[in-house]
């Protein structure tokens, strides 16, 4: 970010003048006249290169604009489509109602039961990923020898590259039967929040461990050395020096990972169920916001109907939730960088 950018050596118009001046002076010297053709060619090539660069800059600028257009497009689409929805359902009823039955009569649009489902799964995933990810990060950054670290890190990162539909399959066919074995199949419904949350925690664990470890590695060696010199054990160095110093990085990694969990679709769609349900019991079936969006877009809901517009209203809320979490997460990271640089 702070790399010094060398000034462009060729502020092109000046160079042209300069070259023309040289070539005209040279042409007055009969001995050098032979070079005139070459100099002309050089000047022409320079001009061509200048034009080429100008065209390229415009193309590159257009490419960069696409990302802006994407954001504008997302916001415009979500707001425009939900505007139609909020004409018929008040924002207050939407945000505070606890019954969500848009596809049944009587229709009710209390989004809290979807938000509750999403947050329940994300909370389970957050607990799992924070425990596993932070433990892994402490081991990798404070205990593991370099060789072991180089083997373990890529293995953990494989977890982040596995498609979410595969995690959904794993939750449904492997974790859920285990949960039913542990808690009894009469208490655990096939589609439940716990199974989805546990598997999602596994999925976002590398995110927590990688980002936290980066934060811990950035803690200056001298702080650790000072603690060791006082006779601290490695555990004491880790918990009393490194973690407090890297705390904002750890918090940020956790926020970003939970935001990932909130926006995740396939695991909750496959394993957590399709019953909007405001509950704290993780063994029950729920419906997450993302799963609802997919359910409606797969169904026969006619375009432009109120039911159809609900997915954009839910999408807008989801977008706002993840955006806030991402902004807070990155703000925390940038605060943390200022400490040591």
């Amino acid at each position: 970010m702070t790399r010094q950018r060398p000034r462009d050596v060729a502020p092109d118009p000046e160079i042209f003048k300069f070259e023309t001046a040289i070539s005209s002076r040279m042409s007055t010297n009969p001995e050098l006249e032979i070079n005139q053709a070459i100099l002309d060619r050089v000047a022409r090539r320079r001009r061509r290169q200048h034009v080429e660069q100008a065209i390229v800059i415009w193309l590159l600028r257009a490419a960069a604009l696409i990302s802006i257009l994407t954001t504008v497009g997302i916001i415009v689409i979500l707001v425009a489509q939900s505007a139609g929805f909020f004409k018929e359902v008040s924002v207050w009823d939407f945000l505070t109602g606890t019954q969500w039955t848009p596809l049944l009569k009587p229709q009710q649009f209390g989004v809290l039961s979807l938000v509750g489902g999403t947050l329940l799964v994300a909370a389970i995933a957050g607990i799992v990923s924070l425990t596993l990810g932070l433990g892994a990060a402490i081991f990798l950054s404070e205990y593991a020898p370099e060789k072991l670290r180089r083997v373990l890190k890529p293995i953990l990162e494989v977890l982040a590259g596995i498609p979410t539909v595969v995690y959904g399959y794993f939750a449904l066919t492997f974790i859920t039967p285990i949960l039913q074995g542990v808690f009894g199949s009469d208490r655990v419904i096939v589609f439940n929040a716990l199974s989805a949350g546990l598997v999602m925690g596994l999925m976002i664990m590398p995110m927590v461990s990688t980002l936290s470890e980066d934060a811990m590695v950035a803690v200056p060696r001298s702080l650790r050395d000072a603690a060791y010199a006082l006779g601290a054990t490695r555990f004491e160095v880790a918990t009393k020096v490194v973690i407090p110093a890297a705390l904002s990085g750890i918090v940020a990694s956790f926020i970003l990972a939970v935001s990932r969990a909130v926006g995740e679709t396939m695991i909750v769609k496959i394993a957590a169920g399709a019953t909007p349900n405001l509950t704290l019991n993780p063994l029950e079936s729920i419906q997450a916001m993302t799963a609802y969006i997919v359910q409606v877009s797969l169904g026969e809901t006619p375009q432009g109907s109120l039911e159809y517009k609900t997915i954009f209203a839910v999408g807008l809320l989801l977008f706002a939730m993840t955006l806030v979490m991402n902004i807070v997460g990155r703000w925390v990271i940038s605060r943390f960088r200022q400490q040591y640089n």
Binding site: T70, I77, V166, P206, F235, T265, I327
Partner: protein, 297 residues
């Protein structure tokens, strides 16, 4: 500190407790990693045991069928290749171009700062939201309700663009500025420097970022689920405006079927998907480690 009050025995005991606490907790930290790796192993075993019996040539070369044992993944495989091909075609020039613009040409003003911030935010937008964007802009507006391969690829392009941009920016930043200075000193203009120095040197880093982005596009299902919606395709897409399905989508369809054998072929399709993705990830990591730029001190 009144150390005189603490007896030698007490001091030794407290030291012992602290050492044991260290040992107990390190076991806990190791356990965290082991659980993570065991989770990965369990996932792979689960899929392999369920899927391997169904994996054969016939499975790769036939279409989906109502009978699980006759089903295959030809249509989703072709659809995936279509989507990824088109996505690569669009996302590479746009993503690399954006990165070059931001790193080499853009002045550090508020607008360009906004673009960078915006890209970081886009990377965190849930994939379903991209699905909704694609549904409204590409399917309904651009293609008049046709749920075709191009709409899917355009949506995927927007989804993976931030990954390509951020990876390419990192690759460009890793090119030592002394190389640029050398080219500038020889009278090259900035675009010539980019063309002859920055791009060739940054290429491996960009390539690994692009491969990772495309593997994300292959594994992503939620946006395609919204865009394609049609989930029982029994033909190979013949043109960019053809209907389509992709591997993750077919897997999802099969998981949702009640008959037990469909689980098996879902697992078989997952094996194919994982082989493709893991080899792509492997290639990306290999490129990164082989061609890593090590600036001379």
């Amino acid at each position: 500190m009144s150390s005189s009050k603490i007896t030698r025995q007490e001091r030794q005991r407290s030291r012992l407790i602290r050492l044991w606490r260290d040992r107990i907790f390190v076991t806990g930290f190791v356990a965290a990693i082991v659980i993570g790796i065991l989770g990965l192993a369990a996932l792979l075993f689960d899929v392999l045991i369920d899927g391997l019996p169904f994996l054969n040539w016939n499975f790769l070369s036939s279409y989906a069928s109502r009978k699980p044992l006759e089903s295959g993944i030809l249509a989703p495989l072709a659809g995936t290749i279509w989507v990824v091909g088109l996505t690569a075609l669009l996302t590479i020039p746009i993503g690399v171009g954006t990165a070059i613009y931001l790193e080499e040409f853009a002045r550090k003003n508020k607008f360009n700062r906004l673009i960078e911030l915006n890209i970081a935010n886009l990377a965190g937008v849930p994939s379903v939201i991209y699905g909704l964007l694609g549904l409204a802009v590409f399917v309904q507006f651009l293609f008049n309700g046709s749920r075709n391969v191009t709409a899917g690829a355009l949506t995927m392009t927007l989804l993976v663009l931030p990954i390509v941009v951020i990876a390419s920016q990192e690759a460009i930043k890793a090119v030592p500025s002394s190389y640029r200075d050398a080219a500038f000193a020889m009278g090259a203009n900035r675009w010539q420097v980019v063309k002859t120095v920055v791009l060739p040197l940054g290429l491996p880093g960009m390539m690994s970022g692009i491969i990772l982005a495309l593997s994300r596009a292959i594994g992503e299902s939620a946006p395609i689920l919204i865009i394609s919606s049609l989930v029982w395709v029994t033909f190979v897409p013949a043109s960019p405006d053809s209907k389509f399905t992709v591997l993750p989508l077919q897997i999802f369809t099969w998981i949702s079927q009640p008959q037990h054998d469909f689980r098996g072929i879902a697992a078989a399709a997952i094996i194919v998907l994982l082989i493709v993705l893991l080899s792509m990830n492997g290639i990306a990591i290999w490129i990164r480690s082989k061609y890593q730029i090590r600036p001379e001190q």
